[in-house]
Amino acid sequence: MSQAKEYRIFETEVWLPYRVAYGETWTRFFEGMKEQKLYGTQCRKCGRVLVPARSFCPRCFVDTSDWVEVSQTGNLQAFCYTNYRYYGQALDPPYVTALIRLDRTEVDFVHLIGGIDLTSVEAVSSRLAKGMRLHAVWEKVRQGHILDIKHFEPVE
């Protein structure tokens, strides 16, 4: 029997379907998005407004019962320019992901920045700066998905 010089690779794929529940709080959050509204919940103990809405405060570990509609405008905290591809990627690169502190909330909201020239890092960096004002731009047709907000754009 001859000894193989190179050992074989078995090409296979694993694919599993899942059905994940939104539950009460996130159902309400995404229903709100359909209506072009962003909801957070406030912790009665520490007073923080959390967005997206949470059913409990991660730090105080108590239920958050107060719903608040939060501002769709906020300050840019940080951004990231992505320009590479990988299997299962949700978006077509290039795109800019950002942490945005919506007004009167205590956590950063993760979303995209658009409405600017995305063709290069340089183009993007020249348009963005920490602390700059950004506002949400909505899709015309909304399905209760996080991408019902198309992206955030600089406030002119």
């Binding site: 078995f10 296979t12 694993v14 599993l16 379907p17 899942y18 059905r19 994940v20 529940a21 939104y22 539950g23 009460e24 709080t25 996130w26 059913s55 409990f56 991660p58 730090r59 105080c60 570990f61 239920d63």
Partner: protein
């Protein structure tokens, strides 16, 4: 050695709650803390149990439910694959003296996952066993075949396990599947994977399980009824199904370790109640033998005798067991919760007739029980 007790338990369990995982994990954690009268800050640390492929398609499961299980700014950690591992790890954390209280949480939301066997086939290696259709059910069917052949156990005896356990589940509000079935109905319930019939195989359930362990002094502050962890044992078998003796297995080894630690020399006499992991009906018979509750090959006779019924001398799975409720990952820990309720007399309608001083809890995962974990708990 420090004594470690289970002080409070909580569970959210059933077929499908429509709640999201993140919130359910919080709710069960909140419930056990409220029962214990402790704030999150007062808890030493957290050990959770979950398995990524049984986790709604979200990987690195404990990153997701980190704050849900009260772990913010704590030294939480996680065990994968068998929830009894989390009990063991938490127990050791208290033994070292570093922590006085440890929260143990087992999390599985079957309703979000594909069929269990779509997942268990991924236990099989991609080269040999997976392409030929091996999964937990097919492995169990072969084990059942061998079991019946070797000891003359009958299909009726195996079906009696279903009749008993799903009947017990009628009294358990946390059970997923329950009902009054005759052995004839069980045998005629469809041939899912011969010789297993449909009703002989466990369903796919949700199970969010939580318990608070504490060192002796702390435990007595929290509850007047601490349930002590007296022994723990675990053993892993070899991988390829064809390499294993499916009727010998590693459960005797795991049980021997747990009994030694608990000082049990005659399990059939000293144990009052058993909650064991029987995703396939016949396994209850085989596991009873291997736990030393009856002689080798006598599992069939044991169930036929009625001794393991809810009103028998040695009730086995009065909760309905895994045949009734199968949150794949947390099913082992759910046995511990059920046994704790029985020891305390808090099991409600499925409380057994006689007082339970010592109970055995058992968790099992892998093909035909490749891994077994046994805990002895008691007054």
């Amino acid at each position: 050695m420090r004594r470690v007790a289970i002080t409070e338990v909580a569970q959210i369990s059933g077929p499908d709650s429509k709640d999201n995982f993140y919130d359910q994990a919080y709710r069960v954690t909140r419930e056990v803390l409220d029962k214990a009268g402790l704030s999150r800050d007062e808890v030493g640390t957290i050990v959770s149990a979950s398995t990524d492929v049984f986790h709604g398609g979200i990987s690195c499961a404990n990153a997701y439910y980190w704050e849900s299980t009260g772990s913010f700014m704590k030294a939480g950690t996680r065990q994968d694959g068998e929830s009894m591992f989390a009990l063991h790890y938490a127990f050791m954390k208290i033994l070292t003296g570093k922590y006085d209280t440890v929260l143990v949480v087992g999390l599985c939301k079957g309703s979000e996952n594909p069929d269990n066997d779509a997942i268990t086939q991924l236990i099989a290696d991609p080269f040999y066993q997976r392409p030929v259709g091996l999964n937990e059910t097919t492995a169990a069917a072969m084990q059942m075949h061998q079991y019946m052949e070797a000891y003359g156990a009958t299909a009726e005896q195996c079906a009696t396990v279903v009749e008993k356990n799903l009947g017990n589940a009628l009294r358990n509000p946390y059970a997923h599947r329950r009902g009054c079935y005759s052995t004839e109905e069980v045998l005629a319930s469809g041939s899912m994977c011969h010789p297993l019939t449909d009703l002989m195989c466990a369903p796919k359930s949700e199970g969010f399980i939580a318990m608070l362990l504490a060192a002796e002094d702390k435990a007595r502050e929290i509850t007047p009824q601490p349930v002590w962890i007296k022994g723990y044992g675990c053993a892993l078998d070899t991988y390829f199904l064809g390499d294993r003796d499916l009727l010998a297995g590693q459960l005797p080894n795991a049980a021997r370790r747990a009994y030694k630690m608990a000082g049990i020399t005659d399990p059939a006499k000293e144990i009052d109640l058993v909650e064991l992991c029987e995703p396939y009906a016949f396994q209850e018979l085989l596991w009873c033998e291997q736990l030393g509750l009856c002689g080798r090959g006598e599992g069939g006779k044991l169930i036929a005798s009625g001794k393991t019924r809810i009103d028998g001398d040695l009730p086995v799975n009065p909760s309905g067991g895994v045949l009734a409720t199968n949150p794949y990952v947390s099913r082992g820990l759910q046995r511990v919760v059920e046994a704790t309720l029985q020891i305390r007399g808090h099991a409600g309608e499925h409380q057994v007739r006689q007082q339970v001083n010592t109970a055995v809890c058992h968790g099992s995962t892998g093909f035909a029980g490749q891994c077994h974990a046994v805990a002895v708990i008691g007054r």
